[in-house]
Assembly symmetry: D2
Homo-oligomer: 326 residues x 4
């Protein structure tokens, strides 16, 4: 059994994932995709930056789009419970001999920038500007009606190490895949906020961001998005789905933004707040772990991901299995 | 333009498709599939025969399952408006030098058995036993909640000929695919009852029945069926979908029964009762005609179909294009 | 049993209901309601007139809005099968000593204007301008995604007489309510196009138009419309629903336009093309005939309706029952 | 502003509401309601007791039904984070001079029984037997597909006091209604697990349990339940809905079990894990706080509730407003 024992009393209290910062090469194109097609709401925009939120979010943003030359992700951000947690996070990362730095971020209070052991750039903060609720302004709903950011999924070169690290800061595994032959973890889903995941890892060339997911009300919203994308020039941006994952039980769709950043639209998650919530094990050879039903994932889904700005990648330590998919 | 002019004053009045008779090799297995999984309602059963209806149907059956050694279709049945139409149909088919025969069918009045020019066995009748309504007995709804039979789709060795023939008996084309190179029809959808089709033809080795479709209330019912089939041992019976067809705009799923007979679950049809309803033309090379969005169809979907009992098949006159799909 | 025998061979062939012409007092306000809120598509507009169609309709319009001083309905229009049917209709109405007149209508061919015996102004035509399909332009879908006009419902001063009249021109009863005490019909639903109704009658002060209905894809679209109307200033325009009718099995919502014209949003109809389709009888005292479930209808729903231009109304011959509803 | 400052560092850590124990007068009748109609899953039953869980729950039960002479609620149960929290809870309630007692409960570890200041019997525990996951056994889904218990709602004789008390043990207010005239709270919704509420209070004769809510996947499941109840003899058990609450934005339905215990079926909640999540204020006079849209609640909904076993009730301190509803 390769899973570490859950750490129920972590060194600092992370509330949830918060936002991602993407570099995009054409802000106007990205706006058409994220705003007019997916339906995220603009909370700020100028010639360099657009910030977005979901329809039930009160924090200033869950996505920051920055104009730039190379489509990368600058960081994955997490919200901590209070200012003391920020200080404890600072000290803890420093004690792990990971780089720590206090950085300025608009709309946010004090922000700690650091990275995890495989190089994923992380930022932690406690306060972000709050905006008035819009979840009952139904006139604003469009596209897939994205309600909130749900999770990040990253390629890790060593999933056992990633799980051990995030476990030590209080992320709890809800589902995982292990490779019976090597006795190693192939993938794991870990949460802080009481759903299936805030952060997941899959074995692969990394570190890279595989996708960022948004929670939507029902499968019908996803079908409406498919109809819309298929008839407005976005057919090639539909990468995988719709389908149901065995893992997480999610009804899912994966689409690519104009720069190739991968977005998952997601519903049908379940509640995991019980501290003893038992992780569900899946065998790497069980095809239903990936796809309870639905077409197999294309090669691009297994191989492509977003690079983190300035972070080198290397091959996974566990050798990838041949992809049987088309 | 290869389409014939619609025949608005046909020689006899066909109301709609009515039912299919399948030979199945294991009645109990088939019952589990059609009744417990899809949710059709049993209206009669003995050791040799099961008859089924959809939840809004008042006619005695839309499917007849007969125990037998070889999984074939015995006939496709259509309902005509009145007894006079039956006689006119008899005379008309005879005048075309097609074989005609009055046969006995339980639960039905006089029944004319004949075939179309490529050999599809057809039966026409006017009266079938009527059953009390059950569409508001919601306790009976299960599976995909199939409401009624919607259409047949057949492989034809010459779609131009099939369209000309069915056009002459009043079927009207709603959508069609033509092959710009040969100037020939590749596929066509034809209706009597005011939806996209009662009968469709696709170029291929034939005559064979490609699929029989049932109309369901919404895409969510199809998603529920996928969840059910994927977790009750029917994963391998899911052949194609879910997806949206360009042609017909249908949200669809194709599944195979235990003998391989193909069933489509279908919703989002549109109304076509206007006599001048304009057929929509699709180019054979337009990938969205088949799949507005969704995974490409597997090879089996292009190649496999149900044989008609005692009917020889031959290759299509128009050569099949290489299948690009997986 | 008060129902007349269905007339399966009517004197002329009506295909379906086609459109309604409403006089509205403020075109801009009406546009906000029908276009921005319900989601009908504008096919023509000037300072006096707006024409609208549903998302799957190819005919030029299903609603005509005319600016005027008094909110009435000018006519209910029906499409006939061919030009010969128009002439037969002319002669038949004339033989009934009902007024007949050939009138000019833009976007239409020859149009016969007449009225039924209780005074409802009817127009019949065969040809209307056809528009390109938009049902796959999903960018246009909004509001409740109305796909097509479905039916009219009118107050009749004598439902038995109305049923007898429309029966004689080929409308077939699908469901009806009778009053066991008087032995008279209280209400009836009659169709031409193969659904539950093109035209319905309810006992009441008349003739008046009770409502015009549009067919929508699923109950979720109706829920989305409720959310939208409740948060954009249209709360008071929501009159009744959502609920499920016993009669017709429809999932329904009734709303009022800015002038009080009543619109039903409707789904879950069933197919009625069989000529022997058995009418379903409901007892006037069965509360589930109106509302299988859902709040009781308010008094306004029972009492209010749209007057026809220039047509006097009188009380129903059958005395109304006391309304138990709130 | 009558709300107390949230207590972000409570004396012990409550994870979530856990279960309710109902006394019912006829176990077989209750089983038909909760199991065959709503679709909860039986995890134990004998002649005296039935225990139930939702389809995604892993704890042994969320409802206990006990056969008895008088339909009351025995207790509301909450799960704490660890054994130490149980001890801290014991000491804290004792310090408040509230009665504390360690009781034996089957399928649970140590259980603390106490009550809140207005007399609601509460139980706290840390460990309950865990059951294998069934959320992907789709064959089990039926009725309304209840996924998990969501919240309790109680009548309180003094909502300000109830809010102050639960605030002190870490429940955070998400929405509230205040009475501008008296400057007092009329109702409040308070959570621990990151949704809109685990526990809510409404001014009224109390303490009484107003309802227990279950989370369901989508509004369509609720519509299916309405269809089922309306046609299986449960029409009179439908008390209010469907509708959308202004407060919580929930799409809701209230039904009564055979003994009158009120159950809410509920979806469309939002995430509230941010510690600074701002409560939304509603005015008592705003009709959309109760009903964003939908029929007004009947008098029974305002007045009736389940008594707690052995607990006397008294009138609310704040005088109830006249009910305008039907």
């Amino acid at each position: 059994m390769p899973l570490p024992k859950p750490n129920l009393y972590p060194p600092f209290n992370i509330v949830r994932l918060s936002h991602v910062e993407f570099v995009v090469t054409d802000l106007a194109l990205s706006r058409t995709f994220y705003v007019d097609t997916l339906g995220l709401q603009v909370t700020y925009e100028d010639g360099e930056t657009i910030t977005l939120r979901g329809l039930e979010e009160r924090g200033h943003h869950c996505v920051v789009l920055r104009r730039g030359g190379k489509p990368v992700a600058n960081s994955l951000s997490f919200k901590v419970y209070d200012e003391g947690d920020l200080d404890k996070a600072h000290d803890w990362f420093k004690a792990q001999r990971l780089p720590v730095e206090w950085v300025e971020r608009p709309w946010q209070g004090r922000t700690l920038r650091t990275r995890d052991p495989i190089g994923i750039p992380l930022e932690f903060y406690c306060h972000m500007d709050r905006l008035p609720p819009i979840h009952q302004k139904y006139k604003l709903y469009r596209g897939v009606s994205p309600l909130r950011i749900d999770h990040f999924n990253c390629f890790s070169t060593n999933v056992d190490d990633s799980v051990a690290f995030y476990n030590s800061i209080g992320f709890r595994v809800t589902e995982y895949t292990d490779d019976a032959e090597s006795g190693k973890l192939w993938a794991a889903w870990m949460h802080r906020k009481g759903g299936v995941h805030d952060m997941a890892f899959t074995n692969g060339r990394g570190p890279r961001l595989h996708h960022t997911a948004f929670w939507v009300p029902s499968p019908l919203n996803i079908i409406e998005l498919l109809d819309l994308m298929a008839t407005t020039g976005y057919l090639a941006n539909i990468e995988r789905g719709p389908g149901r994952h065995g893992i997480s039980n999610a009804f899912f769709l994966y689409v690519r933004d104009p720069d190739g950043h991968r977005i998952e639209l997601y519903c049908s998650d379940y509640q995991t707040v019980d501290p003893e919530h038992e992780p569900i094990r899946w065998d790497l050879k069980d095809p239903q772990r990936q796809t309870l039903w639905g077409a197999p994932a294309p090669r691009s889904w297994f191989e492509e991901g977003t690079f983190f700005a300035g972070v080198d990648v290397r091959d996974a330590e566990l050798k990838a299995q041949p992809i049987v998919a088309p």
